[in-house]
């Protein structure tokens, strides 16, 4: 089975894909930090961040439909806030919407949550769909993210598909024997499947470790190639960071 739910489209050939992972990571994190620290009423700032995301997304050639689908992950959070906060927020001016009283401050909170989560998640999706996962982990490593995280990330990426396959095969074997999962007592079956999956993964981990030891692994991951940042990387990074900064500071001019 083939999976690419983590970094689909990361192998396209676009100007954004060609950039160094470090440049992209720093640039996108700058946008995220600028965005989440912006006061909610600072409309122009959000317009600038959104514009930035749209420009990078267009240049990246990642299909718009894919980006939008991925962004649905934030929807539940926004919905939860949107359903309750405007009607339950106390204080400040209100207006009536049929039988309901709506708080203006409450609405602003919804906007705040929605716009910040959408822009931040869009940045992360763009980063992960324009950078191969292994490059991303190496980039993080060179940015001095503790190697514990990058190593776990790299192993996760390598083995999650195998574990998903294993779960899928178990599920098929189970369903072939007429399991329907409708009754409470069948919940135990699912529990045991999870336990089996865990044990198998643990055994696999042992075998992987053996295979690594067999090739002289002594607990430290040796470093290898050091690629240098080139001018397009610097150009992208400074362009994005400066624009984000301009967005963050635009409130002082308007």
């Amino acid at each position: 089975m083939r999976h690419d739910f983590i970094d689909r489209y990361s192998r396209l050939d676009s100007p954004v894909h060609g950039l160094d992972a470090r440049a992209k990571a720093l640039a996108f994190f700058a946008v995220i930090i600028a965005c989440v620290t912006t006061p909610p009423g600072d409309w122009w700032a959000f317009a600038i961040y959104a514009g930035l995301v749209v420009v990078v997304a267009t240049a990246s050639q990642v299909p718009l439909k894919y980006l939008l689908t991925r962004m649905l992950v934030v929807l539940p959070f926004i919905v939860v806030v949107a359903v309750f906060v405007p009607f339950m927020h106390k204080g400040g001016p209100t207006f009536d919407l049929g039988p309901l009283t709506v708080s203006r401050d409450g609405l602003l909170i919804v906007w705040n949550v929605a716009v910040k989560s959408v822009i931040s998640v869009a940045c992360l999706i763009l980063l992960s769909s324009t950078t191969q996962f292994s490059d991303l982990m190496h980039g993080f490593e060179r940015l001095h993210v503790p190697s514990f995280f990058t190593t776990v990330g790299a192993f996760m990426y390598r083995y999650i598909f195998i574990i998903v396959d294993e779960a899928e095969r178990m599920k098929r074997a189970r369903d072939s024997r007429n399991f329907r999962g409708r009754w409470l007592w069948q919940a135990g079956v699912v529990g045991r499947m999870i336990a089996t999956l865990f044990l198998r993964s643990q055994e696999r981990a042992e075998r992987v470790y053996n295979a690594m030891s067999a090739r002289g692994f002594d607990g430290t991951f040796p470093r290898w190639t050091e690629t240098r940042l080139r001018w397009p990387d610097y150009a992208f990074m400074s362009g994005v960071i400066l624009t984000a900064l301009a967005g963050r500071l635009v409130i002082f001019w308007t």
Partner: protein, 239 residues
């Protein structure tokens, strides 16, 4: 005839091993493999073949003595032993743990602390050897089983081993993939120990066969006579 010491690649003396759960996997194994020999290690499932294999580079250390090219395998010289003995595991998904082929093939040489140029060279050479040149940047989970098997071989060939130990190298391959891989393995002119159930492969590329059953060596000799001994094969669950 007793072989000269420098002709001996692997010497196993009275090796026994019991797993922590109490299962006695190996009982008094004696085995001498000469340099350049190709030995098929055969036997039913659970006979102890893989356990023996794990002793050859010190991943497991049982009672008894294992020598690789005259050096005893112990904690102190694990590094040297592991450079000499290339172990390829049965499941390529265990062998290949890196996000890209290049990193996996480079892993051994990097652990040998080679310079970046030498690492690059050995990666290139190893991939070329197994016919996978140009796949440096591919990730193993996008590869076919046969391709993964080839890359697995490359991950130890890149370390320049003098002894190759292969666990079921052609199991689960389709017939063409199997045939090609057998040819490839046959072309490596190093000492080879091949754990397998594949009688045909044993006959094709091994001069000698060792049969292990319930932790003991029950037969050891030229591959022809052993594979011709129907009673022995059927007792050992091989036919």
């Amino acid at each position: 005839m007793i072989p000269l010491a420098q002709e001996i690649a692997v010497r196993v003396d009275d090796l026994s091993y019991r797993y922590p759960d109490g299962h006695q996997a190996l009982i008094g194994i004696d085995l001498v493999v000469r340099r350049g020999e190709s030995v098929a290690i055969m036997g039913p499932n659970g006979a102890g073949k893989s356990t023996l294999m794990l002793h050859l580079n010190g991943i497991l250390q049982g009672d008894g003595r294992v020598e690789i090219l005259g050096t005893e395998v112990n904690k102190k010289n694990l590094g040297r032993v592991r450079e000499t003995v290339g172990l390829v595991f049965q499941d390529p998904d265990d062998q290949l743990f890196s996000p890209t082929v290049r990193e996996d093939v480079a892993f051994g040489p990097l652990n040998q602390r080679l310079s970046p140029e030498l690492v690059n060279q050995s990666v290139e050479r190893a991939l070329e050897w197994v016919g996978m040149e140009g796949s440096e940047n591919r990730s193993p989970h996008h590869m076919s089983f046969g391709e993964k098997k080839r890359v697995s071989l490359a991950t130890v060939l890149s370390m320049g081993p003098e002894i190759l130990v292969l666990d079921e190298p052609v199991a689960n391959l389709d017939p063409r993939g199997r045939r090609e891989l057998i040819e490839l393995i046959g072309s490596f002119d190093v000492t080879k120990l091949i754990v397998t159930h594949d009688l045909e492969m044993a006959r094709d590329i091994c001069g000698r066969a060792v049969i292990i059953d319930r932790g003991r060596i029950v037969a050891d000799g030229r591959v022809g006579p052993i594979l011709g001994d129907v009673a022995l094969l059927s007792r050992s669950g091989l036919i």
